[in-house]
Amino acid sequence: MIPVSPLSQAPVSTTAPAPPVPLQPGIAPRARPALPKGLALLLGLWRIMTSNRKIATGSAIVGFFVLVALIGPLFVRQNPLTYTLTLTQPPSAAHWLGTNQGGQDVFSQLIIGTRSSMFWSFLTGLIVVAIAVTIGLVSGFFGGIVDDALSLVTNVFLVIPSFPLAIVAVQYFNHSTLTIALVVALTNWPWGARVLRAQTLSMRNREFVTAARASGERAWRLIFFEIFPNEIAIVAASFITTTIQVLLAVAGLEFLGLGDPTAVSWGNMLYSAYNSSALLLGAWWWFAPPGICIALLGGGLALLNFGVDEIADPRLREVKRRVRSSFGVGALARRWNRSSSQRSQAQRESGPEKGAQA
């Protein structure tokens, strides 16, 4: 029931692409107006977000949900928890998504629930990544007994099953979203830690790390300023993947009734829909919207993963200036004229000459 986060499916390239043939000094690069660094970064981000259909769709979906979570509740006029007398009504003008068995407005529940679900997913994702980064980087960098000890801890947490732990935790503490969020966090960080440890182990012997060490940098600076920035792509991708897993895990635990029954969230909506036999009643408007939202958000995040690589790596950011948006009339025209859509990417990947370069 509780999905295990397979970080191996994060589509991130961990090896550096072959360096493109560099610019010759003296030949000015294509004239670009000098922009302040922040604006340039935003523009770069925008370009990447619209460069690829997958990334564009993903960012649109996630952006939409973020917007709804932030300002949606301002537009909800009805209290989602108010019981009314119009029980189990299909969607109508008064209730856009109908009502549930308690007469509560499903639409307002959905909007309010978006905030809760998104907040807890992202928060838990952040906690997981924070733990994974700390433990992974420290154990990978220092090696030896530190590595042995931390790996032991990681392996122990790796095998702890999250569902039984959730049951125990909510019985022992209280039925709250925080409890299950913590349970999910505690059982999902080991994967990321293992990946980052492996990455760090390989990075720590890279020559630029040795060069920084020979320059006199201290260990903590080596870890956080030399090694970690090179791993941001993996960390970001693992954050997104973890968020998807956590979203599903939290919703799943809530669906099983382990969540806070007074909270409004997608998982709880599914729980009450199940409990009230919405399927038998044919009240599709009760369980379909939260289910679709969960699926859409998860899908959007997965699509966004494709763009993470490029946002994090300045090399890919630079060359990307040649790739134009895939929307619009210009793009259509280009598609008619040219055959391969991967052209620019392939060209970037195979430079003219390898070997000793000037």
């Binding site: 020559e207 630029f208 320059s215």
Partner: protein, 350 residues
């Protein structure tokens, strides 16, 4: 083992400065232990460096010549204190280098690496790479000073116009430019000693001389002591006043570059020189003076490690490593063909 037996500097050529060595290494040894697979077997190790001594002087360059497995990179790492020697001593400006205080040592001794593509962090721009040493060693305390000094450093390594290069990322630079940034980074520390590990072997041929000339100029301007590690004996002759030849972790010959290269005494040096490409030499298909490959450093040959390949090998060569034989004019070698030399202190170790 006697560790801190400081030797007097070897008398060298006539223009040898009267001041002492700025960095001196005596009887350095380095073994890298290998993981024990068989708990009852003997402990195995890679015997990377076996009793090497050298001295660096300000404003002069010493070339360390050897092939792969000769231990030259390990020596550089020992001198840069990236690894600790298994035995032997380092002294900086006459004072023994103690185990602690790496930062202070690093402010005097800097290392330039072989691969210009690997030694710069791809995620940081040139400004960052130069600002770190400037800030670490307090040569600059605010951004304005950092920028000023970074631009000055870029000008000194002939990366002009400097403003254009300051915010470039490593992947936007060519190999030669990257190597210049690496040199600038080393200079930002304001060291007295520069260790250059094969600085030009991964660069295009037509720009190598440019880079070597740049380093010569910086050596003269900053009065740096330079250790130039290379496998190319011709560039060793071009760059350095003094040359040291290593084979399989042992130093076999040393002295003024011209002397060592024009009149090589050790059979390995002779082999190296005969094998180096030389368009002036008539072509021949006859085999070079010694066949064979560089030995394994885990189970190296006993005594002189070159003896399995040496055309002049004698039974004593297998038994022990010869003491230093002084050939006059600062030229020395470790070879039984030249006797075991005078009882100079910088020879056998226990």
């Amino acid at each position: 083992m006697s560790l801190l037996r400081r030797t007097t500097p070897q008398p060298s050529v006539s223009d040898h400065p009267s001041s002492g060595a700025v960095l001196e290494a005596t009887h350095l040894r380095k073994y890298f232990p290998l993981q024990q697979v068989n708990p009852f077997g003997a402990a195995r190790a890679v015997h990377a460096v076996e009793d090497t001594s050298l001295a660096l002087y300000r404003g002069r360059a010493l070339a360390l010549v050897g092939e792969s497995g000769s231990g030259k990179t390990t020596v550089a790492r020992l001198l840069a204190r990236l690894d600790a020697p298994s035995s032997g001593a380092l002294s900086f400006e006459g004072k023994a280098v103690s185990a602690g205080d790496l930062r202070a040592y690093r402010s005097h001794v800097q290392l330039v690496f072989q691969d210009p593509f690997a030694s710069l962090n791809p995620i940081h721009d040139v400004y960052y790479h130069l600002s770190r040493p400037l800030r670490m060693y307090r040569h600059a305390t605010n951004a304005k000073q950092v920028t000023e000094q970074a631009l000055e450093l870029l000008n000194r390594v002939s990366l002009t116009p400097a403003e254009q290069f300051l915010h470039k990322y490593p992947h936007e630079l060519s190999g030669g430019q990257r190597q210049r940034v690496a040199i600038a980074r080393a200079l930002a520390v304001r060291p007295q000693v520069l260790l250059a590990d094969e600085p030009v072997s991964m660069l295009d041929v037509s720009i190598r001389l440019d880079m070597l000339n740049l380093m010569l100029r910086l050596k003269d301007e900053e009065r740096l002591a330079v250790l130039f590690i290379t496998h190319d004996i011709a560039s060793a002759r071009y760059f350095a006043e003094e040359t040291l030849v290593m084979y399989a972790g042992q130093s076999v010959e040393g002295g003024p570059s011209d002397e060592v290269i024009q009149h090589p005494k050790h059979p390995y040096t002779q082999l190296l020189i005969s094998a180096a490409p030389d368009p002036d030499r008539p072509p021949t298909t006859e085999a070079p003076p010694a066949r064979g490959e560089i030995p394994s450093l885990i189970t190296p040959p006993t005594g002189c490690r070159f003896h399995p390949r040496c055309p002049h090998a004698m039974p004593v060569c297998r038994e022990r490593f010869p003491r230093r034989a002084d050939l006059g004019g600062g030229h020395w070698t470790h070879c039984f063909l030249y006797g075991e030399g005078t009882a100079t202190p910088a020879t056998t170790s226990e």
